[in-house]
């Protein structure tokens, strides 16, 4: 992997979030508030991103390796299950509550916002809780057969 390319991609991604208004939770909530004064801007963010992404993924699909010679690693799971839908619903509730999703929260944290730092810390704890819960469920109990 090329850290420099990844850093550049992160930087461009962050600038895109700032320019689009996604990094402003007030604007995100304005988009999610269909029953109030609705700000449709963020539909255009997704439209613009998917427009480029669609062609990028089609192009990548015809290649075995990247321009830097790395293997293409695309998600292979096709399972549609309760984890996918339930997890996404839980995520959507958190998104609506704060107006932050992971990328914009990191950008806002990078801008020095204390409130974003709180959100990011809680998000990391949530991810660790998931890892701990999965480990508890899937790891065979060592003493059980004793």
């Amino acid at each position: 992997m090329s850290p420099l390319a990844a850093f550049a991609a992160g930087l461009v991604f962050g600038i895109g979030l700032l320019l689009s208004g996604m990094a402003d939770p007030g604007k995100v909530k304005g988009f999610l508030d269909l029953a109030g004064a609705w700000d449709p801007s963020l539909a255009l963010v997704m439209g613009g991103a998917v427009l480029v992404g669609f062609f990028a993924f089609r192009f990548a699909g015809r290649r075995a390796r990247t321009f830097l010679g790395h293997a293409l690693e695309l998600p292979s799971s096709r399972d549609i299950d309760l984890r996918l839908v339930g997890g996404s619903v839980v995520f959507g509730v958190g998104w609506g509550l704060a107006g932050f999703c992971p990328g914009p929260a990191l950008v806002s944290f990078g801008a020095g916002e204390e409130k974003a730092a709180t959100f990011v810390a809680a998000m990391l704890i949530g991810m660790l809780l998931h890892t701990a819960a999965e480990r508890l469920i899937h790891e065979p109990r060592r003493r059980s057969s004793g």
Partner: protein, 143 residues
């Protein structure tokens, strides 16, 4: 439904969206990875050795973006009207939810939808509807 024309920023938002697409294309066509931010952050918490470098570099890029934005004369408008307790609860929900759902607005909403992945289309519909419902309840039922 009333449109909030005062805050509507079609060109900036569309241009920002294009940039987000370009960033996802860069990560894909240079490093061969999907720009799913929750997945990248989650990967940093449970690092396999080869993931740490590029994932950390991508997150550093995100964190450095506001500095570059300011340097270029951009205004930082971040209206965070929630209190600390709400933000902590919301962060927890986002962390747990994106882990179980295997993605967020970037991984499912941008990359997955671009790939026309049925999983991502469904996940995106689910978190959008949940977001709409949450803001409706918070602003029009409880408030």
């Amino acid at each position: 439904m009333t449109i909030d024309w005062v805050h509507f920023t079609p060109w900036a938002s569309f241009a920002g969206g294009l940039l987000i697409g370009v960033a996802a294309a860069m990560l894909l066509l240079l490093n061969g990875r999907v720009a799913g931010i929750s997945g990248i952050v989650g990967g940093l918490l449970a690092p396999r050795r080869h993931d740490l470098g590029w994932g950390g570099a991508f997150v550093l890029g995100l964190l450095a973006a506001p500095a570059l934005w300011r340097l270029a004369g951009g205004a930082l408008e971040m209206r965070i009207d929630s209190g600390f307790a709400t933000l902590a609860a919301a962060g927890l929900l986002v962390g747990v939810g994106t882990s179980y759902g295997s993605g967020c607005t970037s991984g499912h909403g941008v990359c997955g939808v671009s790939r026309l992945s049925p999983r991502s289309l469904l996940a995106t519909a689910a978190f959008m509807l949940a977001g709409f419902a949450t803001v409706f309840v918070a602003r029009h039922v409880l408030a």
